[in-house]
């Protein structure tokens, strides 16, 4: 059976078109080489349906299949879903550690130890002032200096206490901002629901919505730093996303997502923020330890300063500690004589006692907490980096590779064009020069 003279032209054309599409894909990859979350794409080339030459039409009597060229069957997104799961698990730990780091750094800075602005130094100055009063009990100046040094000390306690409260409050505020109606979770969940719809529609039509899928994966990555996430395919590439123990995005519901909800197992940044804002969290538990220091100071000084209280006996927290003694009511001795200094000496002897020790232990605990968290953060960071590196190794764009592909497809295009030129020459021979013998 004869084959159409023009069939070869069609085959070459398919070659030209397929190489061009592959080059376009390479161009897309190169253009997105630095786009975060982008997965490289690959034009999958496959031979087209062959032309069947029926039986008995060739010499042997058998049939044959004549190749008709190439076609791009799909544009594939190169990505490893297993690495995504690993990345998201590590990203949750990193989100937790980073949120804690921010707060703990502030806590550590608030203490300002060791240094001349810290409470330890104010306490030391307070004992110095008592010692000066013990050396000069008659001197109104020494007593005045004592009272103002005590007031400075009380103010330092109050400032530190309120700074710790602020750190906890900031954690709560940040949690509220992220989970609020205009927060990240709400907007990302809404976008995810929209992407789910678009992706499902495209997949149903037989398309591969690579770039939409990249965007969706990127959003899920971002969610994973806030709380634990897990994803399930509900069919046609529409993903159900579980977030912190509750279902955040569900393509089977009309709205596609549901927020706000109460997270049952937050983890990640949101879990850390909730913990930091709670009374058992680092800032507030350090504050209650500071309260114990203040209470110890008030009790031990007042126990010796018996005539009138030195500190307000009701103010036994760091926030409420206050000096009620004045220059006139500072008690230097147990008797009335102006030169008596036994009370002042007894209070001076409190230096290095339980108050200082409690405070020193508190500072050490703050240091340990910050140090441990810094280590946890750096471990989580290296794990995230390692997984991300693996992921980049699979999905990232390598310019060397793309350039090689570009040359490959360019040569393919050139060769297809050459085939077409040759066929054209052949047809020229057939059409313009055949049957003109003797003319």
């Amino acid at each position: 059976m004869p084959i159409s003279s023009f069939m070869g032209l069609q085959t070459s054309l398919r070659g030209l078109l397929a190489q061009q599409e592959a080059m376009d894909t390479t161009g897309h990859n190169v253009a997105n080489a630095n786009t975060p979350g982008y997965s490289r794409q690959e034009a999958v080339l496959a031979p087209t349906q062959p032309f069947v030459v029926p039986a008995n039409s060739v010499l042997t009597g058998a049939g044959a299949q004549l190749g008709t060229g190439v076609d791009v069957t799909t544009i594939r997104r190169i990505r490893d879903a297993f690495l995504d799961i690993q990345y998201r698990a590590q990203s949750t730990s990193l989100g937790d550690a980073t949120a804690r780091s921010n707060s703990l750094d502030q806590v550590e800075l608030a203490f300002a130890e060791p240094g001349s602005d810290g409470l330890a130094s104010q306490l030391s100055k307070f004992w110095d002032a008592w010692s000066d009063v013990a050396n000069a009990p008659e001197d109104a100046g020494a007593r005045g200096a004592l009272v103002s040094s005590a007031q400075t000390l009380a103010t330092s306690f109050q400032t530190l206490s309120s700074q710790l409260t602020t750190v906890a409050q900031q954690a709560q505020d940040e949690y509220d901002a992220i989970t609020g109606p205009t927060g990240d979770v709400a907007s990302w969940a809404k976008e995810l629901a929209g992407l789910n719809t678009s992706i499902r529609d495209a997949v149903v039509r037989g398309q591969q919505p690579n770039d939409l899928m990249d965007r969706r994966d990127q959003l899920i990555d971002q969610l994973s730093s806030l709380a634990q996430v897990s994803v399930t395919d509900t069919g046609n590439s529409a993903l159900k996303v579980d977030f912190g123990g509750v279902t955040l995005v569900d393509p089977t519901t009309p709205a596609g997502y549901s927020w706000p909800q109460t997270l049952t197992t937050p983890g990640g940044k949101l879990g850390a923020l909730l913990d930091l804002a709670s009374p058992a969290g680092a800032p507030l538990s350090f504050r209650s330890e500071l309260d114990a220091v203040a209470s110890d100071l008030v009790t031990s000084v007042n126990a010796l300063h018996t005539a009138t209280p030195f500190f307000d006996p009701a103010g036994t927290t760091a926030a409420t500690i206050s000096v009620v003694a004045t220059q006139a009511t500072v008690q230097t001795g147990s008797g009335a004589a102006s030169g008596e200094n036994d009370v002042a000496q007894a209070i001076t002897a409190l230096r290095g006692g339980t108050t200082d020790q409690l405070y020193g232990a508190l500072v050490a605990r703050v240091g340990v907490a910050v140090q441990a968290n810094t280590r946890a953060e750096s471990t989580a960071q290296s794990l995230v980096d390692a997984v991300d590196s693996r992921r980049q190794s699979i999905s990232g764009v390598s310019l060397d590779e793309e350039m090689t592909n570009l040359i490959r497809f360019q040569r393919g295009y050139q060769a297809s064009a050459r085939t077409m030129t040759t066929l054209d020459d052949m047809l020229d021979t057939l059409i313009n020069r055949t049957g003109r013998t003797g003319l």
């Binding site: 630095n34 050396n135 036994d342 910050v370 990232g396």
Partner: protein, 304 residues
Amino acid sequence: MSMRITTMMTSRTTLRDLNDDMGRMSKLQEQLSSGKRITRPSDDPYGASQALALHGQVDGLQQFQRSVADGTGWLNTCDTALGQMGDVLQRVRELVVQGSTDSAGPQARAAAADEIDQLVESVKQEANVRYGSRYVFSGTATDTPPYALGGADTYAGDNGTITREIGPGVQIPINVDVSGLLGDGQGAADGKLLDTLRSISDHLRGSTPADADALRTTDIQRLDANMDVLNGVRADIGARTNRLAVADSRLSALEGNATQLLSNTEDADVAKTIVDYSTQQAAYNAALRAGANIVQSSLLDFLH
């Protein structure tokens, strides 16, 4: 198949390494510029709390030294005043010896008696000496002069003890009960210095042989006894001053030790830190050079 290395991986790794190097350098730079190994509790939690305790200890030792200095000044004031009293007593003794001889006439004796009355006032004035604004001989009633000049000879202070703390739990009394030396005057007839001086003055003015007798015997004996008491008190003050001097040098030594320990705990070892810093800087420069070379080239550079 070996791991595929992509463009973004290389640049990210380079950037992360540069960041880490920079972080370590800035930590070392902070240590160098502050001179401290510990600038935050998390640098070394145990060291930081130890540093706080040592700071407190150094402050406490300095305060003890101030107390010692104050106590020494107080005792020196007492000693000077008692020394002046001693001189006065010597003069009184000369007058008594002159006045008790038969050759001294009534007028000369009256003049001596007048001088002794004046000397009583100067003894009381010495007793009223002040350290700062405080009467050192009034016990704890430091705002009251112990004796009223030109008035009664009774002691107006109390017999409280004033102490200075010169070490943890170590207190040393720094005042002297001057009423044990001067007494409450003739009214009390206690045989102490003021009583003795007033009696001498009376006996010099009196012209009976009994008066002259008393001058030669009881008065001079009591005067000598009073001088012994005075010298005893001065010896005691000297001993206490010595104790304070010993305490002072011991406190200085302790402060030196504590400061040394504090420096070992929180100060940066400058030589080591500088070496570390240079090493880190070399690593950073190498990373920069490598980054500049690696990130720049690709196949693109060789295609035409």
